[in-house]
């Protein structure tokens, strides 16, 4: 207690290397923490451990092969990545997608959002020490994986969309299963809430932790739930509607304080909104083809475009340049929401304790496959 004022004892910082192998850095994120006691003075975020050069690779694959690569970015929300890419190419080529395909895409994207949020909830709660929520959330995610398996045969990397529509129509009876899943999920969300929302320890661990103001959040380029947690009304589904979102009725939950607890509440509410969207889409599912009129050889005219969708993590943008001659994009760029959100980690973490670092990694919900690409 008397050591600090005395010049005899210098107060060195303790530098701790958190990751790339660490149970709660969600993959291979590495944080170099400078600690004063247990308080974080500074942090350097190091990434790139799963950099596979997807952008470079995509510039050397043809337009359809790229869909497969997009699966490997945010691998817990592969269908959303497919959707964003296909829509960008469709925008570039001005292909009209049949309404039925857009509806099914919406259903897939929302199922994917629920699955991704389930994974987030499980790991986030696990990081804070609530281990049971983890298994509950994975139990429901499993149901979604089953649905995807039935739709496209894969459980993680779906390759489930094509430029111009969908490769397959939904199997018979699939829509009923999705409906049944919605009922299950609707009953399970209160179960999660019961374990966490009003739990004193959970409140103490998340309230007032990692507060970020709306201005800072916009300035830092945060997107998705972290941005909405700071009470910024920003949801690509509403602002720049894609797929069939303009035909559905849903709300965008907003936080008030911009802390970890608000971001938690927002994602839980998004479970409900996603269920709502899926139900509307199933109710209004139009008949018709699932594939639009697409040339056999995809070869967009020279031009470039940026198109964004709302992935579970935030604004997932694709910037694609076509030179009009090759059967591959000249420039393929992904605006990864996890990457941009991860940039917000440093201001969030500084001044908090080591224990909060893991909570904050959890709350911004990064997938390193997407950060590093």
């Amino acid at each position: 207690m008397t050591t600090a004022p005395s010049p005899m004892f210098d107060t060195d910082e303790l530098v701790i290397n958190m990751g790339p192998q660490h149970p709660s850095t969600h993959g291979v994120l590495r944080l170099v923490l400078k600690l004063d006691g247990e308080k974080v003075k500074d942090v350097d975020v190091v990434m790139g451990y799963v950099h596979r050069g997807i952008e470079k690779l995509s510039e050397n694959r043809d337009w359809t092969q790229i869909i497969l690569l997009t699966d490997r970015m945010d691998y817990v929300a592969a269908a959303t990545n497919n959707l964003g890419y296909c829509e960008t190419v469709e925008k570039l080529m001005e292909i009209e997608v049949p309404r039925r395909a857009r509806y099914i895409r919406t259903i897939l994207a929302e199922l994917q959002r629920i699955a991704s949020h389930c994974l987030w909830l499980g790991t986030h709660a696990m990081d804070i020490g609530a281990m049971t929520v983890f298994l509950y959330a994975f139990r429901e995610r499993e149901l979604i994986l089953d649905l995807f398996e039935e739709y496209c045969g894969a459980r993680l990397t779906y390759n489930s969309m094509r430029v111009g529509g969908l490769p397959l129509d939904i199997p018979t009876g699939w829509d009923e299963k999705v409906r049944a899943f919605c009922d299950v999920m609707e009953a399970k969300v209160p179960e999660y809430e019961e374990l966490l929302t009003n739990n004193r320890i959970w409140l103490e661990r998340t309230r007032g932790i990692g507060v970020i103001s709306a201005e800072d959040a916009i300035g830092l380029g945060l997107c998705g739930p972290p941005l909405r947690g700071s009470a910024v009304y920003r949801d690509v589904r509403k602002d720049e509607p894609y797929a069939a979102y303009d035909e559905f009725d849903f709300e965008v939950p907003l936080g008030t304080r911009g802390d970890t607890y608000d971001r938690y509440l927002i994602r839980l509410e998004e479970f409900r909104q996603s269920i709502r969207i899926i139900r509307q889409a199933l109710d209004g599912l139009p008949e018709g083809p699932v594939m639009g009129k697409v040339p056999r050889l995809l070869k967009p005219k020279a031009g470039e475009t940026y198109h964004a969708i709302e992935s579970p993590k935030g604004e997932l943008g694709y910037f694609i340049v076509s030179d009009g001659r090759a059967t591959n994009p000249y420039r393929f760029r992904v605006r990864p929401p996890s990457f941009c959100n991860l940039q917000g980690l440093r201001p969030l973490v500084i001044g908090h304790l080591v224990a909060d670092v893991v909570a904050l990694i959890g709350t911004i919900d990064v997938v390193l496959g997407e950060v590093d690409r």
């Binding site: 290397n17 804070i128 020490g129 049971t132 983890f134 320890i201 103490e204 661990r205 893991v358």
Partner: protein
């Protein structure tokens, strides 16, 4: 000669082995109970319903390679798990598992203090493990652990004072007998103390939600990060043995030890056919279950919140409890 040496030695041998076996089954119980809480099955492969897992787990741990990090302090690194395990076993010497003399090793007149004193030695195991590993995460964890143990020890010891006041003795057996004379379990007169001891016990055994020293998600396993094999399993044994100790202490202090409910109500005497040790172990089992249940349910506290809880909430309540108990005792 037989009475003073052979019988106690036999008792000790049975006790130590019994505790170790009980620990392995506690681990199995924890795995099973948490699995059920999480809609899983838990271990199912070894033996019927995975019961033999309790034997296979320790064997696996013993057979694993025992690694000492190159830059570790070898003596301390070896000593730490022993320092952690031995006190956890020693305290069972004064725990009365039943009414008969057969069921306890010794009855010393400062039994309760003995338990507190010896468990406080266990903290050296954790501190030295963290220090001797020569690694940053274990060091942080051991700092956390020592601060946590010391502050909660104060809260628990202060709470126990009010129980001692109620019982008028420090002997474990004396406390149970005091409950028999009083005709009720002390839980009914000291509910606040019971809750405090339970919380403090969770914290002292590093159980969730106070498992910061070994917080896997933050400190990658805490003080035993660098341990493996037999030495790791000693920490493991110590943790669960401490859990058993806390359950036993809570049972003795608040739930009448080996007594049946309302020991002086004649109407309930038909319950007497149940042997006293069954009552004791049944109650202990209940508390073990409670500990595991809490672990499955609650998130983890943050370190500073834990310290705040200990110093600013538990200790003042404990002191208040002492004052109230003393006043009531004088007035009655």
């Amino acid at each position: 000669m037989i009475d003073t040496i052979v019988i106690p030695l036999l008792k000790i041998a049975v006790l130590v082995n019994g505790v170790l076996v009980a620990v392995t089954f506690t681990v199995l119980m924890e795995r099973k109970v948490i699995a059920w809480a999480q809609s899983r099955l838990g271990p199912m492969r070894v033996g019927p319903y995975g019961i033999l897992q309790a034997i296979v787990d320790p064997i696996k741990l013993i057979l694993k390679e025992d690694i000492t990090p190159a830059k570790a302090d070898k003596w301390m690194f070896t000593l730490a798990p022993i320092l952690s395990l031995v006190p956890a076993l020693v305290v069972f010497a004064v725990v009365p598992f039943g009414g008969d003399e057969l069921f306890y090793v010794t009855d010393i007149n400062v039994g309760l203090l003995f338990i507190i004193a010896v468990t406080s030695i266990g903290v050296y195991g954790i501190i030295l493990a963290g220090w001797a590993s020569n690694s940053k995460y274990p060091l942080l964890a051991s700092l956390r652990a020592s601060a946590q143990l010391i502050s909660y020890e104060i809260a628990v010891t202060m709470t126990l004072v009010s129980v001692i006041l109620t019982a008028g003795t420090l002997s474990m057996i004396g406390i149970v007998e005091a409950q028999q004379e009083a005709g009720f379990w002390f839980f009914f007169v000291q509910p606040v103390a019971f809750v405090l001891v339970l919380i403090g016990g969770l914290a002292e055994t590093n159980r969730a939600p106070f498992d910061m020293p070994e917080a896997e998600q933050e400190l990658t396993g805490g003080f035993h990060t660098e341990y493996s094999g037999m030495r790791f399993s000693m920490f493991f044994l110590a943790e669960y043995a401490n859990m058993l100790v806390i359950s036993a202490v809570v049972v003795v202090l608040f739930w009448g030890g080996w007594l049946r409910p309302f020991p002086n109500v004649a109407a309930l005497s038909f319950l007497d056919f149940i042997p006293s040790w069954v009552w004791f172990f049944g109650k202990m089992f209940g508390f073990l279950y409670l500990f595991i249940w809490i672990r499955a349910t609650l998130p983890r506290y943050r370190y500073d919140q834990l310290m705040r809880l200990g110093w600013k909430i538990l200790i003042p309540i404990a002191i208040g409890n002492i004052v109230v108990t003393a006043v009531v005792k004088v007035l009655l």
